[in-house]
Point group: C2
């Protein structure tokens, strides 16, 4: 019984990976680099994207916005005159808690792949399943708000392990929390010592330049490779 | 294809509901009231439970602690000398993002049902799937931290709709956030106008008495009915 369940789950993940590779091939054809951006609900993905996009200069970035329902974040980002495509996961029952490769594939015809160098996929706010489903991305990053506590890397290790960049947000609240930043970094080291980390605050702007620079360099990664 | 998927999902939810009813029957037999406590990661479920349990007097409360992995929260609660049973969801692949009725059923033999009047099930930190899976509970409640933003009831309506109590936590941070409390309450009214709400802060203790009283009254609910 248990073995059967694991087999079904494995088949589902294999099917997802097959579609993710097809997505990746399509992104490659258009020389688009893809970032899968994840976090718990309310950690600040959209706010940090707004700040990075506002100062993007001539870097061509598009956004695929994943939500259970609604288009609140899409509306915020579209105001910055970037191409934004909304993907809602509530077609099933209560709503899927993550994006999978097939959902991203269904959005492909709406994505302006010839006009962008970087696609940011803003995943559904959730620290578990989004890390389990590849969608065809090159890079995975996450936002971790210090209001969530120091223990999150230990409680959700797959997510923290999956990401090459961890944005540690809401740093302006440090004086008002019983929170030990060294302990969070220690816990992050325990599950993913090689992850790059940027300490920042969407509210004060601290650290946002570094995040914006990281994002713009990511956009140039494939374009540079194509020139070489 | 789409229809098949919906059918499979429906079957899975039907099977879950059947097991949830069996759990409920067992809880009924022992006159135990059951609370399913949910929230996003880091909203403060465990801290608020600690505070309520510390002042519980002679109210007999047990905890079933759901986590993807680890026993960090169980260890905190066990220090308060309440019976705590740990349930980890990582037996499958990366870890299930919610508790379901079968997982709770598997923990049943370890629960001291004759020695408690209230069982608090602390679900996995997630605003999507925990609301979709009944586990045999009488009541569902959630913690919503004001650091998560005012839009959460609109983005995760199923969760906010499922709960008869919404604990609005981290109120001590209000002066330091760009956060409109009236807007959160307005959005909550839009999806669940009848939900009771308690404004509180685990850090300052504000509102904790009201939450503790609500919990202790819940514990007495079935005991009282048995006497009548």
């Amino acid at each position: 019984m248990h073995r059967t369940k694991v087999k079904v789950v494995q088949d589902a993940l294999d099917a997802n990976n097959t579609i993710a590779r097809a997505n990746r091939d399509d992104f490659d054809c258009h020389a688009v680099t893809v970032l899968n951006l994840m976090s718990a609900p309310g950690a600040g993905k959209t706010s940090l994207l707004e700040l990075a996009l506002a100062g993007r200069g001539d870097v061509r970035i598009g956004v695929l916005e994943g939500d259970v329902q609604g288009s609140y974040d899409s509306d915020r980002l579209a105001a910055l005159h970037v191409p934004v495509v909304q993907l809602n996961t509530d077609a099933g029952f209560g709503g899927e808690c993550h994006l999978d490769a097939n959902m991203v594939r269904s959005a492909m015809p709406a994505l302006p792949l010839d006009d962008i160098d970087l696609l940011v996929i803003e995943n559904v706010g959730n620290l578990v399943c989004p890390a389990e489903f590849r969608v065809g991305e090159d890079v995975r990053a996450m936002v971790c708000s210090i209001t969530e506590g120091e223990d999150k890397p230990l409680k959700y290790p797959l997510m923290f392990r999956a990401c090459e960049l961890v944005l540690i947000n809401k740093l302006d609240l440090l004086p008002y929390l019983d929170f030990d930043l060294d302990k969070l970094l220690y816990n992050l080291d325990a599950v993913n010592p090689s992850a790059r980390r940027i300490l920042l605050s969407a509210r004060t702007g601290e650290g946002v330049d570094e995040w914006r620079q990281w994002l713009c360099e990511l956009a140039a990664r494939r374009a540079r490779a194509a020139v070489v």
